[in-house]
Amino acid sequence: MDDLSEWLAAAYPGAYRTARLILRDPLEAEDAVQDAFLRAWRFRDSAPKDAGWQPWLYRVVVNACCSRLRHDAPRRDRRANLDGDYVDDAPGPDAKAVRADEASAVVAALAALPESLRIPVVLRYYAGLPEKDVAVAIGRRPGTVKSRLYEARQRLAADPRLRALVTDEEAAR
């Protein structure tokens, strides 16, 4: 991974979408990913070789997102609320629209989670990292990742926007 352009071609889209799911804002996501790649590139000598570089890069991306989240939390909260209102619209008539509505409802519900839960969810279920790699990316132990994912799924299930998605045995209770 010595060639930055090759690296970008391979990892940019995934990193951008991950950042976008965490931050929601396209410009912020773009800036965060740019910061992350620059940082990763600057410290490429200390990047783990082979399979280890991917969780390492995600860690850099997550850190870049977190620093943006901390810098302008107030504005983001306002935006998240606005987006939340929008999601309450009635679902569209065809199956594709319903599915798209479900997807945006998940994202809106995800935005309501604290970042300590939201980030593991995005890394595990969107980026598809195994739990041990998520642990590397967020700098926590695998056990912590497991419990956070569990808590996040529970909280998502309790979100009214996602009622339709809750599995039957839970809904029956």
């Binding site: 590139w41 600057r42 279920y125």
Partner: protein, 328 residues
């Protein structure tokens, strides 16, 4: 509980609708070159080269590089070399000062530099207030102003701080003038080159404005209510992004117009007032180290008592056995 597979599917569906910006990787390449091949020495020269690449890369930034001379980029990596061929071509233009040797590069006149710094002056106790006033006057002499000032002139250790906003072009002269007002204990200044950010923001604004115009045309043609709503929604999104970028541009303009210089003045006996974060951090470190030391010190006593107790116990048992045997 939300099913993991459902969550996975929906997140991927949603993420698939997020189109990564086409210019994103180019912007990273340009900025990486701006850091000097990925190392820390980010020079204004290379930011200029980065601007050239942005232009070549298809993002039109009108007039951004007009009349600038470009030095040889020292970007490492084969890809960077090829990416900079065009910058190299501009470098060879007559009038360029390429290959300036070991001389420190002078930032181009239109580079966007953010200047920040602080000076700590020590003067006789009686002169603290006068020096603070003199420091405030320095801002005015260079076309700047005082952003903030606070002073404690009563008591044994008078001290105060004035935060000056000075036009960037006059910043170094202002620092020198302030330095003449007393005995400089500490002085630091930082420069941050935000040229890439400035041109990046301008380029993005331009492309978003173009998108908005296209959307307007689309809106005029839309017949179906669904289409109208979809276009309007997209336009709102674009408009929000434009407004955010304009705010960012304004903030950058403000930061690159005026440099910030914090002047702290104290009497000979006063300690340097630590700034907010550093102070808090130092306190935290001190507290931790202090607590740890106390723990180590306490553990020494505990260990000593344990050893003494153990020795007494062993000695006591032996003495008891001896005594018992002696009795029997």
């Amino acid at each position: 509980m939300i099913d993991e597979a459902v969550l996975e599917r929906l997140l991927r569906d949603e993420a698939a609708t997020y189109e990564p910006p086409a210019h994103g990787p180019d912007a990273v390449l340009a900025a990486a070159a701006g850091q000097g091949g990925g190392r820390r020495d980010r020079g204004p020269w290379l930011a200029v080269a980065a601007v050239a690449v942005l232009v070549v890369g298809g993002i039109a930034v009108a007039g951004a590089t007009g009349g600038r001379s470009l030095p040889a980029p020292t970007a490492g990596g084969a890809n960077s070399e090829t990416a900079y061929d065009d910058a190299g071509a501009q470098r060879d233009r007559p009038g360029g000062n390429a290959g300036g040797g070991a001389a420190a590069p002078v930032p181009p006149a239109d580079a966007s530099i953010v200047r920040t710094g602080g000076t700590w002056l020590v003067v006789p106790d009686a002169k603290v207030s006068d020096t603070l006033r003199a420091a405030a006057r320095v801002a005015g002499q260079h076309g700047g102003f005082v952003a903030e000032s606070q002073a404690q002139t009563a008591g044994d250790h008078p001290s105060g701080t004035v935060t000056l906003k000075v036009p960037v072009a006059a910043y170094d002269r202002a620092v020198e003038d302030v330095g003449r007002l007393g005995d400089v204990q500490q002085s630091e200044t930082q420069s941050e080159d935000v040229s890439t950010q400035v041109t990046d923001t301008a380029a993005r604004l331009k492309s978003l404005a173009a998108t908005r115009d296209q959307l307007r045309t689309l809106l005029a043609r839309a017949r179906d209510v669904g289409d109208v709503l979809a276009v309007q929604e997209r336009m709102t999104d674009v408009q929000t992004q434009i407004e955010q970028l304009q705010a960012k541009q304004e903030a950058l303009k403000e930061r690159t117009t005026y440099g910030t210089l914090a002047v702290t003045v104290s009497g000979p006996g006063g300690a340097q007032p630590s700034d907010g974060f550093r102070g808090a951090w130092d306190d935290a470190v001190d507290g931790f180290v202090g607590g740890f030391e106390a723990l180590v010190a306490a553990s020494g006593t505990v260990l000593f008592l344990l050893i003494v107790g153990l020795v007494l116990l062993v000695a006591g048992r032996r003495a008891y056995r001896y005594w018992v045997r002696g009795v029997v």
